[in-house]
Symmetry: C2
Subunit: 492 residues, 2 copies
């Protein structure tokens, strides 16, 4: 039984001679989802065991900024302190647009309605949020300020359908250190409860009974297979599959255009595979976050992105993940960010992008020739853009007026073409199909008894690269982690 092949086939309970461990709720994975799930299951009176393949807690949540997307109900404490009265319907409408045809309306509804109470729960757990706002256009807050726009809320077309409000909540900690702090706090909360933690314990497969209900788990600890009875249920919180190239090829080949898999080494899809082995549907498997992080510096938002045809294709003031998704579906093979050369110094200083200069020009004609773009194409695009921008307008792509200004000569172009070095981080957004409660569903929509899942092992609120916002995954992971833990504990 190899690690790779094992998860698919569940073990029948009749073949289990004895249980090495017995508990009410088994949680697989000790990242954000697993921690929240275990805490809620324990608080509901269940005995809980966590099995984690790594030697510490953390998962991909600890590697993230742990911005958390929250709002609605008049605003979280922080939103209100910063003067924002966030309506649930605005948050709901925004997230529904983000999900597009893939949106899970029931999950988004629950997520939005419970968001402020989820914030309060985090605070009760000891997660620190400062009543302050970070006003830069940034990928993350590098100060200990809390509230920031982390998606495309203020950008077209979202702003026309849902009143924009910042909903990203950054932890009160300097630098990009939210993830480690968040998981430190949650780990301490787990340790204070009746929860048995097993590190370096690799979940191998689920145990099912004759009706297909999940009744336990097989894990490998110190090279030995151990069986675990889960009297109330197993909660799979084992992350996504961005680290499993076979699965990416099979399910999400589009994502292989990215060059920076974002996650922890355990994001190999084993939770998803175990669920599928027990009869679960995996959905949205082709989708993922894939980003072109061309800001900071925010000043580059005043530039324009063009494809091999010299055409613009997006309002450059939207979220970098949305830009990444649109970028990767352009015809032709080249992508350039055209900007005023005077911004180059700040690009060098602040950017994560790692894109080289592809060309410069005193005039657009010169730049167009240097980039070998179709004759007249870039000239038309830039002239038209500049003419309208001078009037504070962007009739084609509707970039917000705050980012509109004619691009000044001399010009420069960054080479954002895939495969030429520009940074394209990515992670998966497909996984097990679950109810709001975390119950795992078959391809025809029935719940599998005893099986729950949360986090990137599932298809949750974040469903599309083009609709992603920072904080959406950790928000989903923690909220639905809690729901899954509650539901498993209640399955007596």
């Amino acid at each position: 039984m190899t690690d790779k092949a094992s998860p698919v086939k569940p073990r029948h309970v009749d073949t289990v001679e004895n249980w090495d461990f017995e508990t009410d709720v088994v949680v697989v994975g000790f990242g954000g989802a697993g921690a929240c799930s275990a805490i809620e299951a324990a608080d509901a009176g269940a005995s809980v065991m966590i099995f984690e393949s790594a030697s510490t807690s953390g998962g991909s949540t600890a590697l993230s900024s742990a911005e958390i997307y929250m709002g609605g109900s008049g605003g979280t404490r922080v939103q209100r302190a910063c003067g924002y009265e966030d309506k649930t319907e605005d948050m709901f409408n925004f997230l529904m647009m983000c999900g597009g045809p893939q949106a899970d309306e029931q999950k988004i509804r629950a997520y939005c309605e419970d968001s402020v109470s989820h914030f309060d729960w985090m605070v009760a757990m000891g997660v620190p949020f400062k009543d302050s706002e970070y006003k830069e256009r940034a990928i993350m807050a590098m100060t200990d300020d809390c509230l920031l726009y982390t998606g495309s809320e203020k950008a077209w077309p979202f702003r026309d359908h849902a009143k924009p409000c910042p909903r990203g909540h950054n932890l009160k900690v300097e630098g990009d250190n939210g993830g480690p702090l968040f998981m430190k706090i949650m780990t301490e909360q787990v340790q204070q409860r009746n929860i048995e933690i097993h590190y370096e314990s690799r979940a191998l497969t689920l145990v099912v009974d004759g009706d297909g209900a999940v009744v336990g788990l097989v894990v490998r600890i110190d090279g030995t297979e151990r069986t675990v009875s889960a009297r109330r249920g197993v909660v799979l919180c084992a992350g996504g599959f961005v680290m499993n190239e076979d699965m990416l090829k099979r399910y999400a080949p589009f994502l292989l255009q990215g060059n920076a898999p974002t996650g922890n080494p355990g994001d190999t899809g084993t939770g998803i595979l175990m669920g599928m082995g027990a009869g679960a549907a995996a959905i949205n498997m082709h989708e993922g976050f894939i980003s072109l992080p061309y800001y900071p510096p925010a000043s580059l938002t005043r530039g324009i992105l063009v494809n091999s045809n010299g055409q613009r294709y997006i309002n450059e003031d939207c979220y970098h993940g949305r830009v990444g998704s649109y970028t990767l579906r352009q015809p032709g093979d080249r992508i350039y960010l055209i900007f005023a050369a005077k911004d180059f110094e700040s690009y060098q200083k602040f950017s994560y992008l790692n894109a080289d200069i592809a060309g410069t020009g005193e005039t657009i004609e010169e730049l167009e020739a240097e980039l070998n773009l179709p004759l007249g194409s870039l000239v038309e695009t830039v002239n038209s853009y500049n003419r309208h921008a001078a009037d504070g307008k962007d009739p084609q792509f509707h970039k917000s007026v705050e980012w509109l200004a004619p691009i000044e000569a001399p010009f420069a172009a960054l080479d954002c073409t895939v495969g030429r070095g520009a940074f394209y981080p990515m992670f998966t957004l497909g996984g097990l199909d679950t109810r709001v409660t975390g119950e795992v569903l078959t391809p025809t929509g029935e719940a599998i008894k005893g099986l729950y899942a949360a986090g990137r092992t599932t298809a949750g609120v974040p469903r599309r690269g083009e609709g992603y916002c920072s904080g959406m995954s950790v928000g989903d992971v923690t909220y639905f982690g809690r729901r899954a833990g509650m539901a498993a504990a209640a399955n007596k």
Copy 2:
């Protein structure tokens, strides 16, 4: 046990008290894939039973034009007679581009290498192909001529990477009658063999043994469940899932933008669900063919397609399915075909499109205003297009010179916006993951013993709407149907 929920969970052989039927190879579905599979299994010496839910053979193949995509190896008899010497590598490179990141190289390789012998097999079965070419740009041949271009072979970017050759083979029959004729011939071939056909027999679920191997099938005949022992294997040829709205919502919500599900009423995904229930991976489930059939008349190819920004987005000389896929991912919500009003009469006479006129204008400025497109956007697009077209050039989108000419005033625009009546037919391209042999695979790539599949129950050679060509599905269905039948018969 409802029809909808049943397929997911296989029945354990221990619960089968007796077999109502026993045979070597069970084929589920009597469309193109099922017929070819049954014929090859029988010709390999196996006893074969077909179970078909409808009261006749045919499936979606009978509803199609039954164009078959074939070539390579120097050309089929028809290709050679028409003066084409088609190289296998050109066909292979073309199909690899069609599949893009999702391409199944092994399947494409086998499909191309065996294509001429597949043609010869068809001929031996009695399928009539005339040694003649149909030279119009059309969606299907309405004469009894055989050979036609059915994809984007001559269009950019394909033409730059693979020498174009027509590979669509239309049956020798007048009108759109290839499908019924093809299935009539194949049904007769089945009837001449040692193959037992059960109509009005709905496959409910697979029967598996303790190792997970497939050993039989449960079917419902005359309201009664019957068990079928499949000594060598079950071949699932039960079509795709375009008629199952639940499955479309779960797996391919993008396709719900189409308004004409193309297939037979049995395309409800039961074959895919049965496979998944037995542990199979379903892959490419989000993908489908979705088309904007804006030709015939071919003259409209001289028009240009623009989005809500007044921008072109594709070379209009490529295949209608590719155009449909690109159309549905445009920013904004409107799509117009801009053309010379003089072509309107021929549009009315020959088109399948059902799109209304959205506006007309003596000048482009007038049309732009009437369509309420961003000021100057359409004017720039058309002026630039016309200027280059006058020189026989399309520097941005590379439409072939044969379709390039300035669009003449007065102008008209067809409203191709989704939801306003234009015809968007669609069908699914996701299904069970199989080897070239038709062996069905688990999510980690192991074959499930005794289980085979072909046709739109699988993810085959056609993997992307944007890379589809007419004849690719019937080609895949028949070739891999044969392979699956051979493999099942050989599984002694």
